[in-house]
Amino acid sequence: MFANPMILFIQVMNSLSLAMNLFIIAAGLTLIFGVLRIVNFAHGAFYMVGAYVALSILRVTGDSNLGFLLGVLGAGALMGAMAFVVERGLLSRLYDKEHMLQLLFTFALVLVIKDLVKMIWGSGQYSIGAPPFLRGAVNLGISPYPKYALFLCVMGPIIAVAIWFFMERTRWGRILRAAREDRVMLNALGTDVKLVYSGVFVTGAALAAMGGALAAPRSAVDPGMDSLVIIDAFIIVIIGGLGSLLGSFVGALILGFLTVMGSIYLKEWVIVASYVMMVVILLVRPWGLFGKADEERH
């Protein structure tokens, strides 16, 4: 592979494209965990809903650039709205309960959402085409490369920078970081914690749904698409360090490269390789690459 720069280049691009696709999902997961301390099993289901909503919107608008844009934004908006209802109506009752109940709550969402998707859209497999302006390939000097995959490579960093900017440079970001450190203090500051929590859950869910819509042109849309994506997202946030945005970015890159490059050498065993890698990283750093170690020792 390394003898041929063109193939190497394509593999690198494929790795990046997959990594960025995964990052968009993992970012929402780690955001929700970072502030709410909840591991959202339903994140993959949100992602799946996003893909289906985009599919339906595209059916109405027809195959066009605007339709695709509306599909992605519509997926985010609709999922965000549903997440708001779920968070305010149900999840918020569990904030001061045991972690296990929160975990099982999101697991219940997985079961419910999966079947609702089957009821609405059926069990068949669909595909979405890339928007017209992103079809075909573009010549990158070394080799031509599909425009859509390149588009994903660009979207990842844009989203990463946007979240980073929001968290580090805005007033709301400061509040979120405070919420991560200390809920009680936040209350004392007079900021409405409820609003912060809703905002984070809704944003995370919308990110997942937009990730699903964006991923749709490069994979099939079917009711099983969530269950492995969520595991990939888990691997990313675990190796990156739960709650760390940078960690998720790096974790996504690692998993993306491992999956694409690994499949050349390991063939179908690559799926095992990603779990093995995670175990190795956790052996060295149990709290992940960019996570914080726990001070207390028992």
Binding site: F107, I238, I271, M278, V279
Partner: protein, 309 residues
């Protein structure tokens, strides 16, 4: 819940199960076998969840390892059952020891996610290691020893194994070890300041839980005459957690109630709709939001009311 009503419940349950084969219904016998296996599986997880307070989302891995190993030893190596089953269970316990050492270093959510990841590793290996596991198609065509070939004799075998396992877990829950487990669940920091090596105890609990899960897996493989990769998938682990929670984690018999009810509901609802997961999801939402102590709480209240009269 105190010991006495639970013991009475277990004794009644055992007597009822003794009577099942004499009712003459093949369907009922098979149903009872599956309910027993799932109950054993839920009980095994409750050693972790209910006693030690660690929520594993990868418990299915040990169920699967027990099942696949039993299948392999019985069929490929042609070992007698008396060797195959203990070997399979010990193999799962050995896996649990290695996985557990890594997992118990992490707390709460991190523990749940790491166990989940390990179970997916096991799942990945099962899917890909076709020569041994049969891959996607599963391990089919297990040869059972002649003495277990009839549904009747198999039923007695399952009842004996599940009964003995349940008795052992009961003793465990009432033992000094069990008390320390509960202390760790209640207050990990305090327990370590009593001189308890919390990590070590968690590891012991992890291995014990895996051991009983492997027994359940072994029985399931023999019942199905095969073992399938889905048994190690993370959603399967989720189902076990749901059974435990549905029944109630703070009692011994809760998981039995939870697993039995969940399984019986599944069988019933499947007759009317393909959307069983939706129903299960709604039940879970209800339990989480309204009855976090599980079904056992209803019985406890009933018992308290009866006691007062």
């Amino acid at each position: 819940m105190t010991s006495r009503p639970q013991l009475i419940f277990l004794a009644c349950l055992f007597l009822a199960l003794l009577a099942v084969p004499f009712l003459g219904s093949r369907y009922l016998t098979e149903l009872a076998v599956q309910v027993m296996i799932f109950s054993l599986l839920a009980l095994s997880l409750n050693i972790l969840v209910g006693h030690i307070g660690l929520v594993s989302f990868g418990h299915a891995a040990f169920f699967a390892i027990g099942g696949y190993a039993t299948a392999f030893f019985l069929t490929r190596w042609q070992l007698p059952l008396a060797a195959a089953m203990p070997m399979a269970v010990l193999l799962a316990a050995a896996f649990a020891l290695v996985i557990g050492v890594l997992c118990v270093r992490l707390k709460a959510i991190y523990f749940a996610m790491l166990t989940l990841a390990f179970s997916m590793l096991v799942w990945g290996i099962i899917i890909k290691w076709k020569p041994v596991t049969g891959g996607d198609d599963g391990f089919v065509g297990i040869t059972l020893p002649g003495m277990l070939a009839s549904p009747q004799s198999f039923y007695w075998f399952v009842l004996a194994v599940v009964g003995a396992s349940t008795a052992l877990m009961w003793l465990l829950s009432k033992s000094t070890m069990g008390q320390i487990f509960v202390a760790i669940r209640e207050n990990e920091t305090r327990a370590s300041f009593l001189g308890v090596n919390v990590r070590q105890m968690q590891l012991i609990g992890f291995v014990l839980a895996a051991l009983f899960a492997a027994i359940a897996g072994s029985l399931m493989a023999m019942y199905l005459r095969g073992m399938y990769p889905q048994s190690a998938f993370w959603t399967q682990s989720g189902h076990i957690v749901i059974s435990v929670l549905l029944g109630g984690v703070h009692s011994f018999v809760g998981p039995i109630l939870g697993a039995s009810l969940l399984y019986l509901l599944e069988v019933t609802i499947h007759q009317y709709t393909q959307y069983w997961p939706l129903v299960m999801g709604l039940i879970l939402l209800l339990v989480v939001l309204v009855l976090p102590e599980g079904l056992i709480e209803l019985f406890r209240k009933l018992y308290a009311r009866l006691g007062r009269k």
